[in-house]
C-alpha cells in the first residue's frame, strides 16, 4: 500500500505494508535514524516522535495508521544547524551521556513544554515517565527542561529557534 504523510514539514509518499511499524518506516524507508528502538514495546520511549501533535512511541504505531499524519522526529527539531532551546539546554547542563535516549527525551520534553510552559519538577518527571535512561538518573535532563522553560517564558527564546 501507499501512504502519504508529512514528516518534519515535508510531504512524503511511501510504499509500505501493514506489517510495517512507523519506526521501521522512519528508520528504514526515510533514513531518519534518530528515533531508536530500545524495547519495541512502548516502554522505553527511545522511539518517541510527535504525531498529529501528540507524543507517541513510533514502535507502537502501524505504518498505515500514520497515513495522512503530521510527524515530527528529532531530525525536525531545530532548524538546519541551529539547535532549538531544549537541545541547547541539554548541552549546557550536561544532560547527555551515551545519547541513545536523548532524541526521545528531547521530543518528550518539547511536547511537555508545548502543553505546559511552566511545569513543576514533578510535572517534568511525569512528562518524562515514559522515557527511560540508564546513564543520567534523569537529573540533568530535568534541569535542562527547567532551564528551557525559563528561557522560553523569559522571552529569551529568540536567541535560539524556540519550539
Amino acid at each position: 500500500m501507499k501512504i502519504k504523510l508529512t514528516v518534519n514539514g515535508e510531504e512524503r509518499e511511501v510504499r509500505t505494508t501493514s506489517e510495517t511499524r512507523l519506526i521501521d518506516l522512519l528508520r528504514a524507508d526515510l533514513h531518519l535514524t534518530g528515533a531508536k528502538e530500545g524495547c519495541g514495546e512502548g516502554e522505553c520511549g527511545a522511539c518517541s516522535v510527535i504525531m498529529n501533535g501528540e507524543l507517541v512511541a513510533s514502535c507502537l504505531v502501524l505504518a498505515p495508521q500514520a497515513d495522512g499524519a503530521d510527524i515530527i522526529t528529532i531530525e525536525g527539531v531545530g532548524d538546519g544547524n541551529k539547535l532549538d532551546i531544549i537541545q541547547q539546554t541539554f548541552i549546557e547542563v550536561g544532560a547527555v551521556q551515551c545519547g541513545y535516549c536523548t532524541p526521545g527525551m528531547v521530543i518528550a520534553a518539547r511536547k511537555l513544554l508545548e502543553e505546559n510552559s511552566r511545569p513543576t519538577e514533578e510535572e517534568i518527571r511525569h512528562g518524562l515517565s515514559g522515557n527511560l535512561c540508564r546513564c543520567t538518573g534523569y537529573q540533568k535532563i530535568i534541569e535542562a527542561v527547567e532551564l528551557a522553560a525559563d528561557r522560553l517564558t523569559d522571552g529569551r527564546g529568540s536567541e535560539g529557534e524556540g519550539l
Binding site: 505494508t17 501493514s18 512502548g42 518517541s48 507517541v56 498505515p64 495508521q65 518528550a108
Partner: protein
C-alpha cells in the same frame, strides 16, 4: 466481501482493512471475524505481535471508523466512543465531573506515549485482569454497546468479562460505545492503583469504589467495590454491599470491611507480587478508599 480468505492464502500477507463506518466494519467481521485482529490504538496489539506482525492474517483498523470517537454528555448518561484515548478521558471535563475515577484511572495508564494512543475500547476488549479502566466500569455500572451485522445490543460491564483476555464479545461483534449512567446525587468514588512504580506500571492491585448515600448524605444506599488484578477478571464484591446496606458511613467500621475484602478475594502469585501481598494490600486500600470517600462528603 466474498472470497477474502482465498485472496489471503494466495498472498500470504496480512490483509488490511480500514473501513469508514461501522456497517462496513461489521460486515468484515461477519465474514472473517474469527481471524481478524481489530486494531484501535495499537498499544496492546503491537506489543502482543512484537516482531511477529507477519502472523496477523487479517487486520481491521478502526482509525477511520466514524462514530467511535468523542465523549458525549446526555441528560442521564455519558457516551464514550470506543476509540477515545486515555488522554482524552484524562482531560475530559465531563468525565472528571461525573466519573472522576475513570479520569484518574486513565491518567494512571502507562506513559504519556501510551495514553495518547491506547483506547478505552482496547482496554475493555483486551480484558486484562490488570486493565486499569475496568474496575471503574463495573463500579459505575457501565454498559457496552456491541454491534454486529445483525443487531445492536447493550450489555452490562458486570456480565462482560469472562477470563483473562476473554469476554462475551463475539467475533462478529464490535464494541462501539461505552455508556455510563450519570450518578445520582450523593455519590462518591475513589480509585487506588498500586503498581511496582508510581507511573508506567502494570497494576499489582487496584480498587475502584463507588459509594451511594441516601438523601441524608450518610445512610448507605449502595457500595460498589471492584478490585483489579486479584482475579481473572475485575472483581465486583457484592457481598460487601449486603453486609452494610442501610448502615451509616460515619459509623461504619472500615477495618471490618477491609478484612472482609481480604477474606473474600483469592488472588494468585505472579512476577509482581505474592497472593499474601495482594490480600494485605487489598485490606489496606479498602480502608483507605473508605476514608477517602467519607472525606468527600
Amino acid at each position: 466481501m466474498k472470497g477474502l480468505k482465498k485472496e489471503k492464502q494466495k498472498q500470504n500477507k496480512t490483509k488490511y482493512f480500514s473501513p469508514g463506518n461501522v456497517k462496513e466494519a461489521v460486515e468484515i467481521l461477519a465474514e472473517i471475524g474469527e481471524e481478524v485482529e481489530v486494531l484501535a490504538g495499537g498499544t496492546d496489539l503491537l506489543v502482543r505481535y512484537y516482531e511477529r506482525l507477519y502472523d496477523i492474517d487479517y487486520l481491521l483498523d478502526l482509525r477511520l471508523l466514524e462514530g467511535l470517537e468523542g465523549i458525549k454528555l446526555y441528560d442521564d448518561r455519558i457516551e464514550i466512543g470506543a476509540r477515545a484515548t486515555h488522554s482524552q478521558l484524562e482531560k475530559s471535563e465531563y468525565i472528571n465531573k461525573y466519573f472522576p475515577i475513570i479520569g484518574q484511572a486513565a491518567a494512571n495508564v502507562g506513559s504519556p506515549q501510551i495514553r495518547n494512543r491506547g483506547t478505552i475500547g482496547g482496554n475493555i476488549v483486551n480484558a486484562s485482569p490488570a486493565g486499569d479502566l475496568l474496575p471503574g466500569m463495573l463500579a459505575y455500572e457501565a454498559k457496552f454497546k456491541l454491534v454486529s451485522a445483525k443487531e445492536e445490543i447493550i450489555v452490562s460491564a458486570e456480565d462482560f468479562f469472562v477470563e483473562p483476555g476473554k469476554t462475551i464479545l463475539k467475533p462478529n461483534q464490535l464494541l462501539t460505545k461505552v455508556i455510563l449512567p450519570k450518578p445520582e446525587e450523593n455519590t462518591y468514588s475513589s480509585w487506588i492503583k498500586i503498581g511496582m512504580r508510581k507511573t508506567v506500571a502494570i497494576t499489582t492491585i487496584s480498587l475502584a469504589l463507588v459509594l451511594k448515600l441516601k438523601r441524608d448524605n450518610n445512610t448507605i444506599k449502595e457500595l460498589r467495590t471492584c478490585l483489579g488484578s486479584v482475579a481473572p477478571t475485575p472483581l465486583l464484591i457484592r457481598e460487601l454491599n449486603r453486609e452494610i446496606k442501610g448502615e451509616k458511613i460515619d459509623q461504619l467500621d472500615f477495618n471490618r470491611l477491609g478484612e472482609l475484602v481480604a477474606d473474600i478475594i483469592s488472588p494468585i502469585d505472579d512476577v509482581r507480587a505474592t497472593k499474601e501481598y495482594r490480600k494485605e494490600v487489598a485490606r489496606n486500600i479498602m480502608i483507605e478508599s473508605l476514608e477517602k470517600v467519607a472525606k468527600l462528603r
